[in-house]
Amino acid sequence: MGSLDALVIQIQGLSSSAGDISRLHVILKQAEDSLPSESSRLCPILNQLDPSTHSLGYLYILEACTSAPISKEQATTLVPYIARYISFCVPEQIHLAPDKFVSVCKRFKDQVVLLGTPIRGVAPMLTAVQKLQTSSEHLTTLHPEFLLLCLLAKCYKTGLSILEDNIFEVDQPRDLFLYCYYGGMICIGQKRFRKALELLHNVVTAPMSSINAIAVEAYKKYIMVSLIHHGQFSNSLPKYTSSVAQRVLKNFCQPYIELASSYSSGKIAELEEYVQTNREHFESDNNLGLVKQVVSSMYKRNIQRLTQTYLTLSLQDIANTVQLNSPKEAEMHVLQMIQDGEIFATINQKDGMVRFLEDPEQYKSCEMIENIDSSIQRIMALSRKLTAIDEQISCDPLYLAKAGRERQRFDFDDFDSVPQKFNI
């Protein structure tokens, strides 16, 4: 009884300076074990604390509060508390106990999902991710949780905002796998296939000692997205892919590889028939929607190919070559593609002719120059980073010890010099 009140007083008293907070942290750690036993009395205490000034204490109490399994009603009352806490807490204080913060946020996510309103969690989680991050290159455990919420709530645009950041530092490989997988799905939802392909590619080619389900699912989506985006799929993975993935992935994704080979034949009827016969399989993988996009991308691919060959072509001929039912349908497809900027053409409805044009981009405009300039800047920054990391690794005592050991076996004279080449 008394200990809890004393704790509250200590929290209130020791939350001003950095020294005080670290003392408070020690006290809280001692009290940590006794807290869950009094979970029923904890919730009212939260009202006595201010999430912005007493962030650390609040966090410990909140964590204890949510540690027990929670019913729907309790969740209804807790969710606003946590949401408020996340938006007001101070990053410096939560960085002292990131584990606690992560577990609170995870439970928060579980609760909003339990309540069936994932959209309520999106904004607070975004704040949580930003507060937990030490830099924008840091991948936290909350990243995948946030993306999952975005997916469930269909708030793809919000999800894209954190996918724009380049991630380099990773705490847990699993976080990265999930982050890239969910991120890929969000990009697919937004039809940003290039980015999606990049993210899924990261999952598939990531170093792994044993195969995991995330990689398998990612590979399935990778096959389809590359069909949609590039119109082709090459069976071979790059050589830096882990040997397990190179060996095993294909066996798990046979129907998708066959889909790709049937796509490469360029015959729409064949593809549709294949999809129809394997419909159940794709459906059980929850990939049927994407498969349908693959099929419709083939029409686009075929029309795009026509622009390489023809200057003018009647809608009837387009319908015939692309195997559409009517000129009307062909017109709709062409129109849609012109709108999306995928082809450059004009339709002459009077004669039913389509005139294909060249890409009007002349690379002369100011925007283009700016665009190129920004690309150059980006690449320069990247290469500076690369050099820095290179230097860092060549000074890393662990690396040198290992590289030196391996060298020694061959030649004693080489021991001192830094190895010229290293493969990552």
Partner: protein
């Protein structure tokens, strides 16, 4: 060049003067085409060859001449007669089975002959074995070589090609001079060609060519033909063409147990047409004095190559069409006729369009004697393959050459390469980080 949008009058004249259109030059069409629709003269054809290949070629014709019963029987009759001169009873039985009594009682199963030949073969084999054993105990190299060689000849005559090959190859250990080696190689090549083992052919050709100083011109020409055949079989038409073109006129009919000089002209000519560009065609085929001698033997091929070079595509394709039936009956070429014809046709299309900024498709269709729609399809395939840089105006039936804009293409490529680099480096750094993480994890576990 013409302005792009107006296919004006002078240009049409230009095409005409280029001679692409047969209709305007009736004289060309009346020119006698030697083998137009003519049936293959089996007797004349067979007289070009001798030995086993003659029989095989005749049997091949009998199998592939389709519904032409007269030709089939003629071929079988000649094959029968030819086999009777040799000692191959196996082949004899096959031929008799194919004849099936249709040639009267004179061409039936002559079992007495078979038995006689078989018996004699047994005796000869025994004799050869005894001889060889004697040589081997005496360790006389030259005699052992001769012994194996005789064995090879014996098996070859009796149709046991595998055994023949083995025995010929065995002589290799006992070869003492370059001449012997070449002899061994020539025998091995002959048997391999009969067996259809063209990888052996290539390896023995190169082996024979290593001892160049002992090569006389005739053998050299033979080797080139054999190499050409091997390349042809391996569908490397360009290399095949080169080899056939290098074959010297000394060849004459010295190699007619494998190939007739007429064949050298046909194979070489067609392969060259399918794979060479214009300058190569001019330098290596038309201006090639040696090869001209061969071409004289088959005027059709000579004419069609000249037509192709001087852009009379219609007449060239005419010649090709007439030759086709006969070429399909050729034991070596039949498999490749379709591919070669396709390649020649695409080349003709490409060459036709090459000099123009714009081409009237109707006129072009005329020159190639096809319909406009068919031509459009063919052109479409070539453009998709990036073999013709042009685009079709299907409304006005005009083909416009396409000018690649270097500047734009460069910009595009630079931007693309940049973003690819960006992406690759970022994912590489990520992977590096993961590896580092795993390494640290393992290190901390060890501690």
């Amino acid at each position: 060049m013409e302005p792009e949008d107006s296919p004006s009058r002078p240009m049409i004249d230009e095409i005409h003067s280029n001679g692409g259109i047969g209709v305007d030059e009736p004289s060309r069409n009346k020119r006698p085409i030697i083998s137009s629709g003519e049936q293959l003269d089996v007797e004349a054809y067979a007289s070009l060859y001798q030995g086993r290949t003659k029989i095989m070629r005749l049997l091949f014709i009998a199998d592939h001449c389709g519904g032409n019963a007269a030709m089939r029987l003629e071929a079988l009759r000649m094959a029968y007669d030819e086999i009777k001169k040799g000692e191959n009873t196996q082949l004899f039985r096959e031929a008799v089975q194919k004849i099936d009594g249709k040639l009267g009682p004179n061409y039936g199963v002559d079992s007495a002959w078979c038995e006689m030949v078989d018996r004699r073969a047994e005796q000869k084999k025994e004799k050869l074995e005894n001889e060889l054993n004697a040589y081997r105990t005496n360790l006389i190299k030259e005699s052992i070589r001769m012994g194996y060689n005789d064995f090879g000849d014996f098996y070859y005559a009796h149709g046991a090609l595998g055994d023949a090959f083995k025995n010929y190859v065995r002589t290799r250990d006992y070869c003492t001079t370059a001449k012997h080696i070449i002899h061994m190689c020539m025998s091995a090549i002959l048997v391999s060609i009969e067996m259809g083992q063209f990888t052996h052919v290539t390896s023995y050709v190169s082996k024979a060519e290593q001892s160049a100083e002992a090569l006389d011109p005739i053998t050299g020409a033979k080797l080139r033909c054999a190499a050409g055949l091997a390349h042809l079989e391996g569908r490397k038409y360009k290399l095949a063409a080169r080899k056939f073109l290098e074959a010297g006129p000394e060849l004459g009919s010295h190699y007619n147990e494998v190939i007739a000089p007429q064949d050298v002209a046909t194979y070489g000519g067609l392969c060259a047409l399918a794979t060479f560009d214009r300058t190569e065609l001019k330098n290596k085929v038309i201006d090639n004095v040696n090869f001209r001698n061969f071409l004289e033997l088959v005027p059709e091929v000579r004419e069609l190559i000249n037509d192709f070079y001087s852009s009379h595509y219609a007449s060239c394709l005419d010649y090709l069409g007439n030759l086709k039936a006969n070429l399909l009956l050729d034991i070596h070429l039949h498999d490749h006729v379709e591919t070669l014809y396709e390649q020649i046709r695409s080349k003709a299309l490409i060459q036709y369009t090459h000099p123009f900024v714009s081409v009237d498709l109707r006129m072009m269709a005329n020159a190639f004697k096809t319909s406009g729609a068919g031509l459009e399809k063919e052109l479409e395939a070539l453009i998709t393959d990036n073999q013709i840089q042009a685009r079709i105006d299907s409304h006005n039936k005009i083909l416009y050459a396409r000018h690649a804009d270097q500047r734009n293409a460069t910009f595009q490529r630079v931007l693309q390469t940049g973003s690819e680099f960006d992406r690759d480096v970022r994912s590489m750094l990520l992977r590096a980080n993961l590896i580092k993480h795993e390494y640290n994890l393992r290190a901390s576990r060890k501690l």
